[in-house]
């Protein structure tokens, strides 16, 4: 399928860069959403979020290799990753110290542990898997949009919408929201805080696993793919204000598009720095994210 509108070269090029940026942006968004789910309920930044993404992708690849059908592997991988999320929650809840410093280091340690585990249980090689929708793509104005990218965009948006309804409309979601606003009041209302937090960790891990599975056909995966994805997804979440899944999507898009424009018009060498420059700018000048909807963590 070819969509051709303009013969204007610079415009075509700009459009190409934007489209490529949006494609990448949704990948960051999908990783970023997971951060917001845990942060929202517990105030914890989970530095092993990127490793959850890796765990989802790697589990699916190896279940496929073991001969299971794609759909079954996918669901099992999500379950495995959710259990990993619950394990992390258990570790945090049994931890003797819940200061921010020690929780940051605990999740960093868990990330290293998961990487080491993947190295032992799986292997150190690169792996890929077939896409659900095939390798096809749409041609648009001299650039392309792959079917898999469209799947990622749709799934990200569906997840955000589902999360919105979950927190707004369901009883569990309401309880989770209440717990995030005021733990003591929620407890007095008879809400089981521990259970709420556990569900949140499992949910966040499940979202990460979905991301990992959807990314693998595009980027391929190995045991350390989570490091950079985690950092970029994290930057996306911060840009969006950390507590809002929708913000993470917008943050991811801002990041992806900026990276692409810098690579296109300035220098592809400094493209990776963009995420962190934006991150600093946001922290310094808009500590609540571009929507400014959380209270600033400033003195």
């Amino acid at each position: 399928m070819v969509i051709g509108l303009s013969s204007n070269k610079p415009m075509n090029e700009l459009f190409g860069f934007l489209l490529s940026g949006i494609t990448v942006g949704f990948i960051y968004a999908l990783v970023g959403i997971g951060f917001t789910v845990i942060y929202n309920s517990s105030g914890i930044i989970n530095f092993s979020q990127g490793e959850f993404v890796m765990a989802g992708g790697m589990s699916t690849v190896f279940l496929l290799k073991a001969g299971l059908p794609l759909g079954v592997s996918f669901i099992l991988a999500i379950m495995i990753t959710s259990i990993i999320g619950i394990v992390l929650y258990k570790l945090i809840s049994y931890s003797k110290d819940s200061s921010q410093i020690s929780l940051i280091i605990l999740t960093l340690g868990f990330a290293i542990f998961l990487r080491g585990l993947a190295e032992v249980v799986f292997d150190k090689e690169l792996h890929t898997m077939p896409s659900f929708v095939g390798d096809g793509s749409f041609d648009m104005l001299g650039t392309v949009l792959t079917y898999q990218s469209i799947v990622i965009m749709v799934v990200s948006i569906v997840i955000v919408v589902l999360l919105y309804f979950f927190f707004k409309k369901t009883k569990t979601g309401q309880a989770m929201k209440a717990a995030s606003i005021n733990v003591d009041a929620a407890r007095l209302m008879g809400i089981n805080i521990k259970k709420v937090l556990m569900i949140n960790f499992a949910l966040s891990a499940a979202i990460a696993a979905i991301g990992g599975v959807l990314l693998t056909p595009i980027t391929s995966t190995n045991y350390e793919v989570g490091i950079m994805l985690g950092l970029k997804g994290f930057a996306a979440a911060i840009i969006g204000g950390l507590s809002n899944p929708f913000g993470a999507v917008v943050g991811g898009l801002v990041l992806g598009v900026l990276e692409s424009l810098i690579a296109g018009y300035v220098s592809s060498e400094y493209k990776d720095a963009v995420a962190f420059v934006v991150l600093l700018a946001i922290l310094f000048f808009m500590p609540g994210g571009i929507f400014g909807n959380t209270k600033a963590q400033r003195v």
């Binding site: 090029e13 150190k124 090689e125 690169l126 980027t219 690579a263 296109g264 060498e269 493209k271």
Partner: protein
């Protein structure tokens, strides 16, 4: 108080090292990046070393002595490589060292092997390792410069004079990019576009669009390894760029074809001969050794051979041959032995060392030009 614990640990180190000091073995050290960003190099290298040391020992060792392999994983970190090289030299007292796997690590340890007078055969690619010649430092792996030269030759032959580069920003990609830019003018080739991408990037469409829109470009070369080149290749096909795509020896493994899928068809690349050992002409002097290695590796590890393990094989056997030739396990003698290797039949090619050439690899046998057709290699005639 903590110092006591420190000392206890140190004594533990000593004691454990004494156990290793059983007399009569030939201690060969190895530094491999078996984990971390260069594990795709170090992993097959370590497997190869362990497998062949065991094999040599089962067959009676070298001059009646068994080899003891002491291998450390550097995780591609020069800092760790420095610590481990000191451990190999002053604690394990090895007589020769194989590795490290990457250029940065090799450059970091050279000073120490030179000072300790222990021969080292690096498995890394860059030319700087053996140029200028350092007395105790060797390498038998084809340099990235040789890879560039081979590609430029082919471009010249096909009259494609305007080349675009899209390089990975890791050590491998950067070093090769630099070498290719240096040798290009010798073949009358102009670099008309020069893009890079990050090691962990998920999409290279933007860079490739710039290349596509550059009307001067006649061919594209992608130095890099890991998932990067596979993504470049996929994006390249998606954008329907018509110019021929060249890949480096960094992707010379079936893994690349597996990950890039159909997009890999039509790609031309340079590679050490081992991955196509079975397809080499019978007259090719490398065929026998390379094919034997390929078959043995694939049988032992149930995975397709990658070119990198061959570096470890060659380094190990060069040391073994040197020990046999000199009838000594004195590091100085082993060094002399390596320097005097003539017509050494390695997996990577024929090697003739000399005091002025510590690479010694024959360019003709060291690099082959391949096309990927129907998901398989085919040698360019």
């Amino acid at each position: 108080m903590f110092k006591n614990i420190g000392l206890k640990i140190l004594t533990f180190l000593f004691v454990s090292s004494f156990f290793l000091l059983n007399a009569g073995t030939i201690k060969i050290g190895a530094l491999v990046s078996a984990t971390g960003p260069a594990s795709f190099l170090g992993d097959p290298e370590l497997k190869t070393l362990q497998h062949y040391v065991e094999k040599i020992n089962n067959e009676g060792g070298v001059n009646g002595q068994k080899i003891e392999l002491i291998a450390y994983d550097t995780g591609a970190s020069p800092k760790k490589a420095v610590t481990f090289v000191k451990r190999l030299i002053s604690q394990d007292k090895v007589v020769a060292i194989i590795g490290p796997s990457t250029t940065g690590e090799t450059m970091a340890v050279i000073k120490f092997v030179q000072r300790a007078k222990i021969p080292l055969i690096s498995m890394a690619g860059a030319v700087v390792i053996i140029n200028p010649v350092k007395k105790y430092v060797f390498k038998m792996v084809a340099t990235d410069r040789m890879a560039c030269q081979r590609i430029m030759q082919d471009l010249k032959k096909r009259k494609l004079t305007n080349l675009a580069l899209i390089s990975g920003s890791g050590g491998f990609g950067k070093s090769m990019r630099k070498q290719c830019k240096e040798v290009a003018p010798n073949y009358g080739i102009k670099i008309v576009a020069d893009e890079t991408y990050g090691k962990k990037d998920t999409d290279m469409t933007t860079q490739l669009l710039k290349i596509k829109n550059n009307k001067k470009v006649q061919a594209v070369l992608n130095p890099g390894f890991g998932q990067g080149p596979a993504i470049v290749t996929k994006n390249y096909r998606q954008l329907k760029i018509k110019q021929p795509l060249y890949e480096s020896h960094g992707v010379a493994s079936k893994k690349y074809i597996e990950i890039a899928g159909k997009a890999a068809n039509g790609v031309r690349l340079v590679s050490p001969p081992v991955i196509v050992a079975d397809k080499l002409a019978d007259s090719n002097p490398v065929k026998k050794v390379a094919l034997a290695y390929k078959n043995e590796y694939e049988k032992a590890f149930h995975t397709q051979v990658a070119s990198f393990g061959g570096h470890a094989y060659d380094s190990l056997y060069a040391i073994v041959d040197a020990i046999k030739a000199e009838h000594s396990i004195n590091p100085q003698k082993i060094r002399d032995g390596i320097e005097n290797l003539k017509n050494f039949q390695g997996v990577d090619g024929i090697v003739n060392m000399s005091p002025t050439d510590h690479l010694g690899l024959d360019t003709k046998t060291g690099m082959v030009l391949l096309d990927i057709k129907n998901g398989d290699w085919s040698i360019v005639k």
